[in-house]
């Protein structure tokens, strides 16, 4: 037998088309990551349509109550069409009812017929691709929607490529080479920030377990992709969708919602000092040094992701104050942009850098001149935390006295 790659049949059948982006909003405003996803979706589908001479759409999906005005905005930011489901029951996000409605929409042929005039929508089964935000809402929503749609999901993605790939896989293809066209390569950084794993969602083409897996879906890290500039010349179609809600979908009631201020305030401080695994030789003492320096500079304190996994033994008071997820800066935590960012004992894994690279002025303290943080800072102080920070504190205090005298 000659092993010429065969192409997957589902692609030829046009059962799966378009890229659906699930939009999040709060109090009538679009969450930034939603526009970032639309921007990336637009770029991908423009290339896709050129390459495959097709006209597949970027479709935003919005659920809510009295937020129809958002739909026009989404078109200006890159959507070809917006499917809008309105109901008082959709005012606030609830996993159960939102999962039901989004899954209904993802399988709805009539919606597709309204925005994709050149395509025989009767053939439509599900979207080809689907994007969600990798935040507190989208992470769970993407999981349950894809469980309902019985397809694959990759989380926390920061790079996307569409390619025609020849795959030879023990289960997927029974070891035979098969061509998977229009495959979404989904790149996710691992927890260390040093490895990139590419996830594919592939139909099973092994005759004994044949099964379609579409949409190819992922959740996207906030702050990674650039939104498009609002373009008022853009036009698109808004499709109103009447959601079908059953009593059993409404089993969860929201009693109240309270806005709280996080104990950690990265947004209103001019300076942030973060520490990483470089504290390791004397964790307790080094954190106290950082605390002292933060006091001098009126800075907030951040940590790297590896430190949040509590690798060191420190006192309970230090532990509960600093070694908490709220302080993580990076793709698994917060994105910050202070005037001054000091990275103490942080190697500079990409996942951290994504969270601080827009800081105005960056100082790194690190004994290893080869660590990647060197390329992400303005001043690289070669040395260990325990040696350098006391010197900085001493100098700050001396200069402060001088300034007092001059006044």
């Amino acid at each position: 037998m000659i092993n010429t790659p065969t192409t997957t049949s589902s692609n030829e059948g046009n059962y799966y088309q378009h890229l659906y982006v699930v939009i999040e909003h709060e109090e009538g405003k679009i969450i930034p990551v939603s526009l970032e996803m639309l921007g990336e979706a637009r770029r991908l589908m423009d290339d896709f349509n050129k390459k495959y001479s097709s006209q597949e759409k970027v479709v935003a999906v919005v659920l809510g109550n009295n937020v129809r005005k958002l739909c026009d905005e989404l078109i200006l930011y890159g959507a070809d069409a917006v499917i809008y489901a309105e109901s008082p029951e959709l005012q606030y996000f609830r996993n159960l009812v939102h999962t039901k409605v989004i899954s209904q929409i993802a399988k709805d042929k009539k919606c597709v017929a309204k925005f994709s005039l050149d395509y025989d929508a009767e053939k439509f089964r599900k979207p080809r691709y689907m994007f969600f935000a990798a935040d507190n809402i989208g992470r769970h929503l993407s999981s349950t929607v894809l469980a309902e749609l019985e397809s694959g999901l990759a989380s926390d993605i920061n790079k996307l490529v569409i390619e025609d790939l020849e795959i030879r896989h023990e289960h997927k293809t029974k070891g035979q080479p098969i061509k998977y066209n229009k495959t979404l390569e989904m790149y996710r950084p691992d927890f260390s920030g040093f490895l990139w794993t590419t996830i594919l969602c592939l139909d099973n083409r092994n005759p004994s377990i044949e099964r379609d897996y579409h949409p190819q879906a992922c959740s996207i890290i906030p702050g990674v992709f650039q939104p498009l500039k609002q373009d008022t010349s853009r036009s698109g179609i808004v499709v109103d969708y009447a959601p079908i809600l059953e009593e059993k979908d409404l089993k969860l009631r929201i009693l109240n919602r309270k806005i709280i201020k996080s104990a950690v305030d990265f947004d209103n401080r001019k300076a942030i000092i973060s520490f990483g695994r470089g504290i390791k030789d004397s964790p307790e003492e080094n954190i106290k040094l950082i605390e002292e320096l933060a006091k001098e500079l009126d800075a907030e304190i951040g940590i790297s992701l590896p430190v949040s996994k509590k690798p060191y033994t420190v006192s309970e008071s230090i532990n509960s104050r600093y070694i908490i997820p709220d302080r993580v800066i990076g793709t698994s935590g917060r994105k910050v942009m202070p005037l001054l960012y000091i990275a103490a004992g942080i190697s500079g894994a990409m996942q951290h850098v994504m969270g601080m690279k827009e800081s105005e002025f960056v100082i790194a303290i690190n004994p290893d001149e080869n660590s990647p943080i060197k390329d992400e800072c303005d001043v690289f102080i070669k040395g260990r935390i325990e040696d350098i920070i006391p010197k900085i504190i001493k100098e700050l205090r001396e200069q402060k006295i001088l300034m007092e005298i001059r006044k």
Binding site: E24, P32, V33, N95, D135, N136, I137, R139, H140, S143, T144, A147, S151, G152, L153, A154, S155, L165, H169, P189, F191, S192, F194, T198, I199, L200, L202, I209, L252, I254, L255, R257, K258, I260, K261, K270, K280, L297, K309, P311, I324, L340, S347, M350, I363, I365, D375, E376, D378, V379, F380, I381, K382, G383, R384, I388, K391, I392, E395, M403
Partner: protein, 301 residues
């Protein structure tokens, strides 16, 4: 006190846990390039699984709940079950272990866990399932909600506090919602049992009354004793014993594959760093002067 017989007065809970690399200093090992050395790193009950176990223990202390713990993993994953039992005083431990399960993605894992949960407590319905917020190695956070969906349970994510009205079969829970560029929200919700809860890492159980504190001490002691003898509580299931459809588990049941793993290429230097010798006081002085300038000449307090 045995409350059997009054069906509606009892509460059955389950915890889904995972054996994960131990990231604590001395146990974790990194390769020279900064990646995890899995062969040299020990495995323990994941920290988020531990938090989920403590949430189930809260139900044990407060509502006299039954607790079952389940995990999918290799035979050595029974260590995670033992550690979880020491936290939550589990009445039953389930290990779902079969070579066929290896390589499963979250959807195929959820299929196994769903089937396993339906076998807990001799097939009695579990009222609340707890799981951690995410695993510290995989970090997808997908397995919990996907298991919830397959069970047909209402899913509550990022729960930081909960109480149950056993008579009315209702749960009240507080959830923490953080969104990019927005304020944080604490949302209070009420739902009919059964529910599936993922516990937020910031969860801390509080025992307010003396009776609760007494129950806490009693069950904590029992938990330690039981965990020493955990094999008595352990049931191991392979694929056949679970009765899962082989098309839906392991690699055949996984829509996704890992196509490649590569080192993240070094990004182009986004800044040109000035290198400062940390042992030179004069250079440190210049850096501090620079700090003053950057912070807008503000008087440092």
């Amino acid at each position: 006190m045995d409350k059997a017989g009054i069906m509606n007065n009892s509460l059955n809970t389950a915890v889904i846990v995972k054996l994960e690399p131990d990231f604590s200093e001395g146990n974790v090992s990194y390769n020279a390039d900064g990646t995890l050395n899995r062969a040299e790193t020990k495995s323990i009950l994941g920290p988020h699984s531990a938090v989920a176990s403590s949430a189930a223990f809260y139900a044990k202390v407060k509502y006299d709940a039954r607790v079952s713990v389940g995990t999918m993993g290799p035979p050595i994953a029974d260590f995670a079950l033992q550690q979880a039992q020491a936290i939550c005083d589990a009445d039953e431990l389930h290990l779902y272990s079969d070579r066929i399960f290896a390589g499963a993605d979250t959807l195929a894992t959820a299929e196994v866990l769903k089937t396993g949960i339906s076998k807990m407590e001799n097939g009695k319905k579990i009222d609340i399932v707890f799981s951690g917020h995410r695993a510290s190695d995989g970090e997808t956070g997908q397995t919990g909600p996907q298991t919830a969906w397959k069970l047909g349970y209402t899913f509550l994510g990022n729960v930081i506090d909960y109480d149950v009205d056993i008579e009315r079969r209702l749960i009240r829970a507080k959830r923490l919602i953080t969104l990019q560029g927005f304020y944080d929200i604490i949302e209070e919700v009420e739902a009919q049992l059964p529910v599936f809860i993922t516990i937020d890492p910031s969860y801390k159980p509080f025992f307010r009354t003396i009776l609760q504190r007494l129950a806490f001490v009693k069950y904590k002691k029992e938990a330690i004793n039981r965990a020493q003898d955990y094999k008595r509580y352990l049931k191991i299931f392979n694929a056949q014993q679970l009765g899962v459809d082989l098309k839906f588990v392991g690699l055949p049941g996984s829509p996704t594959i890992v196509y490649k793993v590569e080192k993240i290429p070094k990004a182009k230097a986004s800044r040109k760093a000035e290198i400062v010798d940390g042992s030179d006081s004069e250079q440190i002085r210049k850096v501090v002067t620079r700090i003053h300038e950057v912070l807008g000449g503000m008087i440092i307090k």
